[in-house]
């Protein structure tokens, strides 16, 4: 039985450009059929948004676990799953399984492992994985050290017109580092690597992308020097995009005091100067994507000495409110916030989603952008509460979420 069409009225539409526009959106057969200054048609179900933002559902480019309650809380309707799973997503069958794992109320877009076992040595079956549902290819949370492998990988991805998502950290320099070299790591006696581990990796991958024409996406760019390289490469027409998570525009390595393992991230937290550079890069368009990096980790992975703890944070629930801080501080407008959170990642993955447009799947959220709440690691929807933002007051909350027209939260 097909549900009746739904019209959400009295909202403010967050469109790809411009300020939020008062209006309504009409959904039928799971798709957006009309939006703007429209009203409900006879027989429609009607939902009054009561002034909330009507936004596209978030498209989270780069999560390490499928965690529906957290995604629903955070307004995420599609998530690109990193290949760093046990076992890695380096086989078409595993990709196919992952691609089906969230339906119907959550779409998972697997990122196929670029190399077998993510070892950085032999190419995985990329075309077969693509046909099994991989929307892009990723090196995982690892650096491919062999530049020859990287060159062949990029030319192959270029041929298949698949985006390659890389982790920009030169492993030779990073070694066993768990922090960025600087006063904090020195005081705490933590293994540390200079921030240049990132810019070196970015420089190499940019050179190879330029050579091969591969569409390259750095999942996280977090340092001044690396962002400058990306900015310059974009200016000369290299097909490169860059992402970041809220941790790197909200926090610096000062948070490592007292060995807080919830702040053990990969790449590690940087200096405050780098944090400001990330904000500037979001504002000037160098950074295209803000993702959660969602990686819930329990006590067995986090209640350890800092260097022994696993990296990662539970980020799905805080992705939207922390990004909205950039709007509130005037760095970006609301339309750009949702381009970073939904439109751009959807375009990178080549999926018809991430914006409010007639004909697209009705993946949308109602958001009260100023509704205050306090992040509390003990009350999170995620499977683990490893957030570096514990006890932080934030604003912005999803009050309703639709996937393909069905209300899921």
């Amino acid at each position: 039985m097909t549900p009746r069409p739904l019209t959400i009225t009295g909202g403010k539409l967050v469109l790809p450009t411009g300020a939020p526009l008062p209006g309504a959106v009409r959904i039928a057969d799971g798709r957006i059929v009309a939006l703007g200054a429209i009203s409900a048609e006879p027989g429609d179900d009607v939902l009054d948004a009561k002034g909330a933002l009507i936004t596209p559902g978030l498209v989270d480019l780069g999560v390490f676990a499928i965690d529906k309650p957290a995604f629903h809380f955070g307004g995420i309707t599609r998530a690109a799953l990193m290949p760093d799973q046990g076992p890695p997503l380096d086989h078409p069958a595993r990709v196919r399984f992952a691609a089906q794992s969230g339906k119907p109320d959550m779409w998972v877009h697997p990122l196929g492992a670029a190399t077998r076992g993510l070892e950085g040595v032999e190419l995985a079956e990329i075309a077969l994985m693509r046909d099994a549902g991989a929307k892009a290819v990723a090196t995982g949370r690892r650096w491919i050290a062999d530049s020859g492998v990287m060159l062949r990988l990029m030319s192959y991805c270029a041929m298949l017109d698949l985006v390659l998502v890389t982790h920009a950290e030169d492993a030779g320099i990073a070694g066993t580092a768990v922090a960025t070299a600087g006063e904090m790591a020195t005081r705490l006696g933590l293994p540390a690597a200079p921030a240049e581990a990132e810019s070196l990796a970015v420089a190499r991958d940019l050179a190879l992308a330029e050579l091969t024409g591969c569409r390259l996406h750095f999942r996280q760019v977090t340092t001044t020097a690396a962002l400058d390289l990306v900015r310059a490469a974009k200016a000369r027409g290299v097909k490169v995009t860059a992402g970041v998570t809220p941790a790197h525009f909200m926090l610096s390595d000062l948070e490592l005091a007292n060995f807080r393992t919830f702040c053990r991230l990969s790449p590690p937290l940087r200096s405050d100067a780098d944090r400001h550079a990330v904000i500037s890069a979001i504002a000037d368009g160098t950074i295209d994507v803000i993702a959660s990096g969602h990686d819930p980790r329990g006590a067995e992975d986090k209640r350890l000495p800092f260097a022994d703890a696993e990296p990662g944070m539970a980020g799905a629930e805080t992705l939207l409110p922390l990004t909205l801080t950039l709007v509130r501080d005037g760095h970006i407008d609301m339309a750009r916030a949702f381009a970073l959170l939904a439109g751009n990642p959807a375009a990178l993955l080549g999926v018809e989603a991430g914006k409010l447009e007639a004909g697209l799947e009705a993946d949308l959220a109602l958001v009260e952008p100023e509704r205050p709440w306090i992040v509390d690691r003990s009350k999170m929807a995620a499977t683990a509460g490893n957030t570096p933002f514990d006890r932080r007051p934030v604003e912005g909350r999803v009050t309703a979420l639709f996937k393909g027209g069905n209300r899921i939260a």
């Binding site: 070299a181 600087g182 006063e183 790591a185 020195t186 005081r187 705490l188 006696g189 933590l190 293994p191 540390a192 200079p194 007292n258 060995f259 006590a299 067995e300 209640r303 350890l304 000495p305 800092f306 260097a307 022994d308």
Partner: protein, 342 residues
């Protein structure tokens, strides 16, 4: 160097306020007067340890667990002797023979030690921050006997006490204006970090000397002068503190070879001979004789303080065990301080 004119009783806050911390996890938590308080408290034990009868019963009936997750001979022995001379029951737990090898987590081990109702736990662990992690989970005072490359507070205290005695300074004195050069693997050294914190808090001017690969980033933020040139770093020094270089770091990764390290950074007899005759030499041990320090220097009868460091170590650890257990023992003036800053 500043000698205090105040009598000892009024030099420090009253009772438990003199040392309001439950644990000793690092020098970084301590104020100058708290460091001096521990040094002064150690004086009595230094005196006791030189007598034939070396036992006080202040910790009688208490249980101290030495939980060493990393191999140690001298620090473990020093803590064991310190506990026993104070009359406590001392139990040593070696990680090599414990369930840690069977995969038990650090937290589980900590909870187990806690359930055994230790009155103080002394911990050494190979990871920075591990001691603080355990301290947060147990109910008794925790002493850091070295955590990763982070801190080794009793080593810094015993070094300060040794210097003070070698210079003939009275209790209550700090090390204002003293020039100390610390040379070796600063990057991986918890001894260096704790000594930097303690010596600078006591007013000393500290120079740290290491090759670039073994010098941590932005070390000058800790109030020291970094140098890569050992001969230059020795100029004007009153005290030279040599650090042990792990042999595995001298096989090409950080240093081309032991003899090349000795050539650039060893306190050789030749370098020692060029120093003014009042310059003192220290080393936390164990030494690589003939590499970072020549035997004739290490064994110098008056200018090497190395064996005196070991002697001070027992006294410092007795002082720390005594002071940290006073609250639980209900020592007058200390029990009332319950609930003061942890």
């Amino acid at each position: 160097m500043t000698e205090s004119n105040f009598p000892a009783q009024s030099r420090y806050p009253e009772g438990g306020l003199a040392f309001p911390h439950r644990d000793l996890t690092g020098i970084s938590h301590l104020a100058r007067h708290e460091i001096l308080y521990l040094l002064d408290e150690a004086e009595q034990w230094l005196a006791l340890n030189r007598q034939r009868h070396k036992r006080a019963e202040v910790l009688s009936g208490l249980t101290i667990i030495n939980a060493f997750f990393e191999n140690s001979t001298r620090t473990l022995l020093s803590f064991e002797i310190a506990g026993k001379r104070l009359g406590a029951d001392v139990v040593n737990m070696h990680a090599a023979t414990s369930s840690v090898k069977k995969g038990e987590t650090l937290i589980d081990t900590a909870m187990t030690l806690n359930a055994m109702r230790a009155d103080a736990i002394v911990i050494r662990h190979a990871s920075s921050g591990a001691v603080q992690l355990i301290a947060d989970k147990v109910d008794c005072p925790v002493l850091n006997a070295g955590d990763g490359s982070h801190e080794h507070p009793t080593q810094a205290l015993l070094d300060a006490l040794t210097i003070r005695h070698a210079l003939g300074l009275a209790p209550g004195s700090d090390l204002n204006g003293l020039k100390v050069t610390i040379c070796g693997d600063i990057l991986h050294s918890r001894v260096a970090r704790s000594n930097i914190l303690s010596l600078t808090a006591l007013g000393a001017d500290v120079t740290v000397c290491a090759p670039p690969a073994l010098m941590p980033a932005e070390i000058e933020a800790m109030g020291v002068t970094p140098s890569h040139d050992f001969d230059a770093a020795l100029q004007g020094a009153d005290v030279v503190m040599m650090l042990r270089l792990q042999l595995e770091r001298m096989s090409g990764q950080f240093i081309p070879s032991p003899r090349e390290y000795r050539h650039l950074y060893g306190l050789t007899l030749e370098r020692f001979g060029k120093l003014p005759p009042n310059v003192l030499v220290m080393h936390p041990g164990p030494m690589n004789r003939g590499i970072e320090i020549d035997s004739q220097v290490a064994d110098h009868p008056t200018r090497s303080l190395i064996t005196r460091q070991v002697e001070s170590g027992v006294a410092i650890r007795m002082a720390c065990l005594d002071v940290l257990t006073r609250r639980a023992r209900g020592v007058p003036g200390w029990a009332a301080a319950e609930g003061a800053a942890a």
